[in-house]
């Protein structure tokens, strides 16, 4: 109970000092919060140095193409309270750029290289950010952006072999695997 109170106090303080919004407890031990882009690095530094969130589980990006922004997710873990805090930061999709956190966790630059290559998000100052990571010599739009048509690219680039058949799993189950059951009811 005390831990829950401590967590509540901490979140209230963060809301006051860093304008943290959208605080949601997803399940015991996992809370998500949102913060503005210019406050993000300070908040994460605060969480690491003063609140015990010493471990960066991972960082990744979500492409909300309909709403016109990327959400960068920093998943932080506190070993003392065994709680995970997910910090969400919305950044603009056009000329996407974000503050680098490689000064907080050295391993973050690997994630940042990946984000730059797969989503096209720039992290100025991050080590080796310009280098190729998984895709060598990639000259299309970054493949994890949702406007990238993977199937079309794949058909254009790679030769396929004849004889491969694709069936709709739903129809196949109705017609071939469970024909006697008939329909959804």
């Amino acid at each position: 109970m005390t831990e829950q109170n401590a967590s509540k106090t901490m979140l209230e303080r963060l809301t006051r000092e860093f304008q943290v919004s959208d605080i949601k407890q997803r399940k015991p031990g996992l809370t998500t919060i949102s913060v503005a882009k210019d406050m993000a690095e300070t908040l994460i530094r605060e969480l690491r140095d003063r609140e015990g969130y010493t471990h960066l589980n991972f960082m990744t990006a979500i492409d909300y193409i309909e709403r016109g922004y990327f959400t960068i997710v920093y998943m932080l873990h506190n070993y003392d309270t065994r709680s995970t805090l997910s910090v969400h930061v919305n950044i603009d999709r056009v000329n996407a750029s974000m503050t680098s956190i490689h000064t907080l966790w050295a391993q973050a630059w690997t994630y940042q290289r990946e984000l730059r290559e797969l989503w096209g998000i720039d992290f100025p100052g991050s080590p080796r950010i310009e280098e190729d990571f998984c895709l060598e010599g990639w000259d299309e739009i970054p493949p994890m952006r949702r406007e990238f048509d993977t199937v079309e690219y794949c058909e254009r680039t790679f030769e396929s072999r004849d004889g491969r058949e694709t069936v709709d799993p739903r129809e196949h189950m109705h017609e071939v695997i469970f024909p006697q059951r008939g329909g959804d009811n």
């Binding site: 060598e136 794949c154 790679f158 030769e159 396929s160 072999r161 491969r164």
Partner: protein, 210 residues
């Protein structure tokens, strides 16, 4: 500078810088010609079949199936099969499953570094037609577009028993002289090279010789 003995045509090596041009030969690959006496060639094939050295290069999830192959349970040594750490010493290249474009570059490089006679086994469904990666932006669908494949072992994943079965089949094929993948590579070299260069966009290595 090493000049090609084949004066008919040489490779451009366009991916290399001016300094590197001198370091690599620009000769085209040569086809293997069997011994004129058939019995000698048969004997050579028998020898080749009984000392298959696998290149220890795990190129996909199927590489995990190669490890138990060498252990006591499956014991590939009884077939004269051993792992080698370098392409120069190996004769069998097992492509263990899917290969991304980045890996394909290393596969081509390792394959060309291998000395003849050399044989390629494609393990799993992914090198056949893409398998579960049929719509992946970074995984090739057909391996035989890029390097010649002698034997396919399909499945996802094939168990080591099937791999042993495939290697026994490969031995049979070598003894009958049916493994001509390396010669196919020489014959259709330009076709293979064009396919490789279409997907490997940063071609910064020599075209054939290492």
């Amino acid at each position: 500078m090493i000049k090609s003995l084949n004066t008919e045509s040489t490779l451009e090596n366009a991916g290399l810088s001016a300094e590197e041009q001198d370091l690599f030969s620009n000769a085209r690959p040569k086809a293997y010609e069997p011994y004129p006496i058939e019995a000698v060639e048969n004997f050579a094939n028998w020898c080749r079949a009984n000392s298959l050295w696998i290149l220890a290069f795990g190129t996909g999830c199927g590489a995990i199936e190669l490890r138990p192959l060498m252990t006591a349970r499956f014991d590939a040594n009884r077939f004269g099969i051993a792992g080698r750490p370098t392409p120069r010493q190996s004769s069998v290249f097992i492509i263990g499953g899917y290969s991304s474009v980045k890996t394909l570059k290393r596969i081509v490089r390792s394959y060309e570094q291998m000395q003849g006679p050399k044989f390629v086994i494609a393990l799993g469904i992914c090198p056949v037609n893409g398998g579960m990666y049929w719509d992946s932006y970074n995984t090739i669908k057909r391996l035989d577009q890029y390097i010649p494949v002698d034997l396919y072992i399909t499945g996802c994943m094939p168990r080591p028993e099937v791999l042993v079965g495939g290697l026994v089949e490969l031995k049979k094929m070598i003894k009958e002289g049916r493994c001509d993948g390396a010669n196919r590579y020489v014959e259709k070299f330009d076709w293979y090279k064009a396919n490789q260069k279409r997907v490997i966009k940063n071609w910064n290595m020599p075209d054939y010789n290492w």
